[in-house]
């Protein structure tokens, strides 16, 4: 057990950081929406799922089925990312309009909103299950996976570095956006005190819509990276990842953008270390146990709730 852990320490670390970066990107979507609406956007996992299918669709459409290099690779990655972002962002906006806005306007209970989100999630999953089949689909390899160098047992590979770097850059960009732009100020104001924000002239509907859009775009990026790294997708690919991303958001402190990425990375590390100790079949159990333990002992997460000032 402990032998496995020490032997696989570096490879677990690198895999954990890579998985964690993807969790973190999806977690930012949960955190933003939760910060503003105090609602777990249960259908966010399907926003991600649609992104992976869109990335696959873009590759099929342009007939790209072999690894590229140089400028062509950059072009292909950009294409995948943009298409996935557009699809995920569009889905998120549509979700807000169809599943949440009517409830919000009526002042419905949060339970009702959560149930509506669960319904929307099933609906989207099944649409893709029926349309694309229930089997795993493979996404063609677009970049050669070169090992740059080794740290102990761990291989530092170009696709893993890409995933981690992209996630960190995106987190920095989002953090800057929320902290410096006008819309970002609107988001923070709404998160702190919606009533006062309205009185100060913040257009709540626009804030909520852009929150969903931003979350969707981040999920789209995560989906494209997922496609590059794991090279597969399935109609229910978002389910487990969604729960883990939510765990990451809680772990980092829900409502906290930097916390979402840190939570994602920490969760990725913990579950991979756990898997190396107990065996890979326990990976998901480790992740869920982390969720339960965090909520028990530190429900405000590592960095604490931030975007909202811990409204009770």
């Amino acid at each position: 057990m402990w032998n496995d852990f020490t032997q696989q320490f570096w490879s677990s670390t690198i895999d954990g950081l890579t998985n964690g970066a993807i969790y973190g990107l999806v977690a930012m979507g949960y955190t933003l929406v939760y910060g503003v609406l105090r609602l777990i956007n249960f259908a966010h996992s399907e926003v991600f799922m649609i992104g992976t299918f869109a990335a696959l669709g873009a590759l099929t459409l342009f007939g790209i089925d072999s690894p590229q290099s140089g400028l062509a690779l950059v072009g292909v990655l950009l294409l995948m990312t943009l298409v996935a972002m557009a699809a995920s962002g569009g889905t998120a906006v549509l979700l807000e309009r169809v599943a949440y806005r009517p409830l919000r306007k009526r002042g419905a209970s949060r339970l009702a909103a959560l149930i509506s989100a669960i319904g929307a999630s099933f609906f989207l999953q099944e649409v893709f299950a029926i349309w694309q089949g229930r089997d795993q689909l493979s996404i063609p390899r677009v970049m050669n996976k070169d090992v740059w160098f080794n740290i102990g047992s761990g291989q530092v590979r170009n696709d893993k570095v890409l995933v981690i770097v992209a996630a960190i850059l995106m987190m920095l960009a989002l953090d800057r956006f929320v902290n410096t732009t006008r819309l970002g100020r609107g988001i923070r104001a709404t998160a702190q005190d919606p009533d006062t924000a309205v009185l100060m002239g913040v257009n709540i509907d626009r804030v909520v819509l852009s929150t969903f859009l931003i979350g969707g775009i981040l999920a789209g990026l995560a989906a494209a990276l997922y496609g590059v790294f794991f090279e597969l997708t399935q109609y229910n690919v978002g389910f487990l990842l969604g729960i883990k991303a939510f765990t990451a958001a809680v772990l980092g402190g829900i409502g906290n953008i930097r916390g979402a990425l840190i939570g994602g990375l920490v969760l990725g590390l913990i579950e991979n270390y756990g898997a190396s100790i107990f065996g890979t079949q326990w990976l998901d159990v480790v992740a869920f146990s982390v969720l339960v333990l965090v909520l028990m002992f530190r429900p405000t997460g590592i960095l604490g709730e931030n975007l909202q000032r811990a409204r009770v």
Partner: protein, 398 residues
């Protein structure tokens, strides 16, 4: 907005009408109806009804699983979701625990079915308490995710442990001991074999009736009143001296025991269980049953479970689209008729006020929407004051 409200108004309020009629019915009238319902339930597995309900498969088997099991699970989940207002997304875990309790103790210890029934209930109840103790202090929507995680933990654990047979599960699980000589109306109701599903259906029916009686009694007791207080406004309930945490645990334990009972009975009939029998989607379908039927109202919940179990069996082409249709139905229901098909009247009033357990969504975002308290005219006019007063007296006497 106005079109939506209009749409909601246009649905006739059956419960309002039948409900007040029911309140005026004397006790012997009620008992006659109960008796007729029970007799009806006993005659239900007949071939004539079956040829219409499920022409393609054995009606008695379908009546046992999925219909009967779904109904029992929905009644159990209704205690948690409908009465106490706690969203449990991992309810299937307790069902699995009950089923595995029977499988493990019957095959490895040689215990008989009737010994394992109470044991399975106790194990499931203990699991409910263990899960509830740390998580029930959380905010409502966190609870939903934690229970979801718990459901997955149980399934993955059953899948990984050798003791529970891993992915191959456990089989053969012995049937309950038979009494082949007992005959009622030409049916050997205590012969638990492989072919005839009717004895199992009757066993399940007795369980359902007992559970309904217990749940109904609880609903009208101090416990039930505390649950509705917690559901409506947890902070206010706490201030009024309701030990909310304790009663939330009680509701979790009640729900868990009913789920465990369903699991034990289910495993006794199917003879073989694998982790695949307990997917997340089952938790979700039962939740759909509760919400679509009308959470908080037993009749509605039973109707919801029946529809969700029966429709895919009757219309075979529908099976493929089942989850999609029910998913869309959930969204539409929450927009158009959040109280469900046959709503509980109390719950409906709460939903109209925009509260209901976890606080309101619009009240926090959009001051404009939050300030409006919708008064449902039908609801107010549907119940003359004297009816409500009479009901209160009866409840006080009970």
């Amino acid at each position: 907005m106005s079109t939506l409200t209009g749409l909601r108004r246009r649905f006739p309020d059956f419960m309002g009408i039948t409900g007040s009629w029911w309140d005026r019915t004397p006790w012997f009238g009620r008992w006659t109806v109960y008796l007729l319902l029970i007799i009806g339930a006993f005659l239900l597995p007949s071939e004539t009804i079956g040829s219409f309900m499920t022409p393609e498969s054995d009606w008695a088997s379908v009546l046992f699983y999925p219909i009967g099991i779904y109904v029992l699970l929905a009644i159990g989940l209704n205690v948690v979701v409908g009465q106490a207002g706690l969203l449990d997304l991992g309810y299937v875990a307790f069902f699995a625990i009950g089923a595995y309790a029977l499988a493990v103790f019957a095959t490895k210890r040689g215990w008989s079915f009737w010994e394992i029934v109470p044991l399975g209930i106790i194990i499931a109840a203990a699991a409910g308490a263990i899960l509830g103790a740390p998580t029930l202090r959380l905010r409502g929507d966190y609870l939903a995710i934690v229970t979801l995680g718990f459901g997955e933990i149980i399934r993955i654990t059953a899948n990984n442990l050798n003791y529970t047979g891993g992915p191959r599960g456990i089989s053969p699980i012995p049937h309950p001991p038979s009494q082949p000589d007992v005959e009622v109306g030409g049916i050997k109701i205590l012969r638990y074999g492989v072919l005839d599903a009717r004895p199992y259906y009757y066993l399940l029916l007795v369980a359902i009736i007992l559970v309904i009686i217990i749940v109904k009694r609880l609903e009208r007791s101090r416990v039930g009143r505390s649950w509705s207080a917690i559901r409506e406004d947890e902070d206010a309930a706490e201030l009024m001296g309701v030990p909310t945490f304790k009663f939330k645990i009680v509701s979790f334990v009640m729900g868990a025991s009913i789920g465990g009972l369903a699991g034990v009975i289910f495993a006794a009939q199917t003879t073989s269980i694998t982790p695949v029998n307990f997917p997340f989607i089952l938790s979700a379908l039962i939740l759909c049953a509760v919400v679509l039927g009308g959470s908080g109202n037993l009749l509605g919940v039973i109707l919801g479970a029946f529809l969700i179990a029966w429709l895919p069996e009757r219309f075979r082409g529908f099976e493929e689209y089942r989850v999609m249709v029910f998913g869309a139905a959930l969204v539409i229901m929450m927009i158009v008729r959040p109280e469900g098909l046959l709503p509980s009247r109390q719950r409906r009033a709460e939903l109209a006020e925009g509260t209901g357990g976890m606080g309101s969504l619009g009240g926090e975002v959009g001051a404009v929407a939050g300030q409006r308290i919708e008064v449902d005219e039908e609801l107010v006019s549907g119940h003359p004051p004297e009816v409500l007063a009479g009901r209160d007296e009866r409840e006080a006497g009970a």
